[in-house]
Symmetry: none
Subunit: 188 residues, 4 copies
Amino acid sequence: MMAESGYHHAQISRIARAAGVADGTVYLYFKNKEDILVSLLRQTIGQIVEKGREQVRSQETAEDKLRSLVSLYFRELGSDWKLAMVTQVHLRQVDANIRREIGNIMKPFYNALDDIVQQGVEEKLFRPSVNYRIARRMIFGTMDETVTAWVLSGQKYDLASLAEDVVDVLLHGLYDYPSHDLERSAQA
Amino acid sequence: MMAESGYHHAQISRIARAAGVADGTVYLYFKNKEDILVSLLRQTIGQIVEKGREQVRSQETAEDKLRSLVSLYFRELGSDWKLAMVTQVHLRQVDANIRREIGNIMKPFYNALDDIVQQGVEEKLFRPSVNYRIARRMIFGTMDETVTAWVLSGQKYDLASLAEDVVDVLLHGLYDYPSHDLERSAQA
Amino acid sequence: MMAESGYHHAQISRIARAAGVADGTVYLYFKNKEDILVSLLRQTIGQIVEKGREQVRSQETAEDKLRSLVSLYFRELGSDWKLAMVTQVHLRQVDANIRREIGNIMKPFYNALDDIVQQGVEEKLFRPSVNYRIARRMIFGTMDETVTAWVLSGQKYDLASLAEDVVDVLLHGLYDYPSHDLERSAQA
Amino acid sequence: MMAESGYHHAQISRIARAAGVADGTVYLYFKNKEDILVSLLRQTIGQIVEKGREQVRSQETAEDKLRSLVSLYFRELGSDWKLAMVTQVHLRQVDANIRREIGNIMKPFYNALDDIVQQGVEEKLFRPSVNYRIARRMIFGTMDETVTAWVLSGQKYDLASLAEDVVDVLLHGLYDYPSHDLERSAQA
DNA sequence: AATGAATGAGGCTTCATTCAT
DNA sequence: AATGAATGAAGCCTCATTCAT
């Protein structure tokens, strides 16, 4: 039996074609494949963090800041399918070395999330017992899963419009708190 | 031609060596690399779902069921680093066609999550307004991000022991609900 | 105007084809292109030096040793056109790093030449004023030029049969010494 | 696409930069890379042969003519490192077709060497039995090896100053002729 | 059933050459 | 005449897959 049909993700060729240039042209602007992906992510995350800082500054509460950041993230990726493909699909197809570098690039974004959580705790809006790292992973994991699902679905719906509901569930969790807790309070 | 050095494959060779068989032997049991990874995932998720069903059946509330499932997931992946590498790293390095297939495999797991959410809502433990799909993405996204972080960290800590805190934040969200809402209730 | 017709020296492909194997097969035995060429030269020169040592040991005078070594060199390369092509053509097409390595590989051969010259001087057969390095370069340069000319000619004649005449001119130089010097002696 | 880094060619770009012009400009004056190298060699060898003819004409004996030509060759290449790099390194990195052309270019130089040898024989200075072709290869091979060694050494010494010793060994060969032959004469 | 040497398609990258400015 | 960004053919190398043993 012959080989099924070869490879399916000619990366550089695909990226070049997506950019409307020849393969070699890519190397006028980037050192190598790693540089392409890392540069692209750095710039993307950098821009989102940058814009995020501004928008966040104009918000009072941690709640509004989170809403603002999630909304921005979904808007940015939701308006650029190719970019989303790169961050959600291509960037995952890289070796361990690059993943470490990706971790570094994401740090400012993670920090922004941590700051929001911390502020929320300080202003007594978020639970004081919350584990920052776990909270951050919930926030980012939920955003990431949402964007990936959107990308793999073929972008059949509007990503940005999900922000409100996503933030809602992140803030409230699954519990039907008020009644639940009031009941418990009542029992106490 | 005279031999001088060996040779090293990255993926199939590694998988074969891990299984203690020769490269070619793998193809007696699997159609191709995609089949290996997909079969592995199918079996893994299948087992977790299977075990999950039993454990879940022995739990009363949606809350306990969720706790049980997250705990199981972390325990299974946390005790098998190679498996976690496959699900969190190698399985992401595949093309869109396979990702669709992966989606199918994950469906029972997603369904289990959906069932739990639905039950929670029915027993008035979870908020009636919750968007099932978004809730499921929050749960799975958080679990996935947690496991990935653990894999990339080099498994420097015990994954299973995070289950409690993760479930806690999924259920309660970020809000400091009791005081927060009691205040609000008081204001009303 | 389009590119003239592409490249003309597909090296690895050519080497692989010459060896009757596929391109990838080469990499089962060699680390990379440099390793192929360097290994080949190392083995070739190594064998010649090895054989040379034996043959040289069975010769009394420096003159006979030189004759023996040149003869061996021409016989070895003259009987293997592909090998000669590699040493005289392909091995020159490499970057500075490899050339340094080539220098190291050739050292035993150069040393053998130096030893012969030194012995010749000691047994008062060769001129005491001879500069070893220059003598060695004359010997090797002449051999090299002879082999290269043979390779580029398309091996239209027998290389080995030139050894006698080449050694003769190396030993005697261009001068018609006896008459020349006898005249000079006479004049003195 | 946003620029970020420059780009570096190895050969044509290097040549162009060395000439102080842009890459494309080179193609206004030369047909292609082969044409550049061949033209450069043609001009270089042409000049050396030209100058050589003059200098040679002012010399009486074949011996002085050889000395003059070797000296000129070493002076020309020894005073222009880039040129020597081209003749000793870059020009060897070309395919068989070009090497034939290079052979044609070198012909006048080889002829000049042949003429000197022939004259030497005629004036009974050089041995009548000398094989012209082999003698020429010895002369050129020794010169070439000397220049190459100088180039690869990083030009750590003065090439021109080696001419005297090189010619000396070419003329006298390795034998300690006078004593050697006088002995032999005496024995006769 | 098992092996592993051999294969070759296709990935990344370089660089001689072109062409719009 | 000159430029240099863009091109794309072809180089090196990897690795999923095959097949003779």
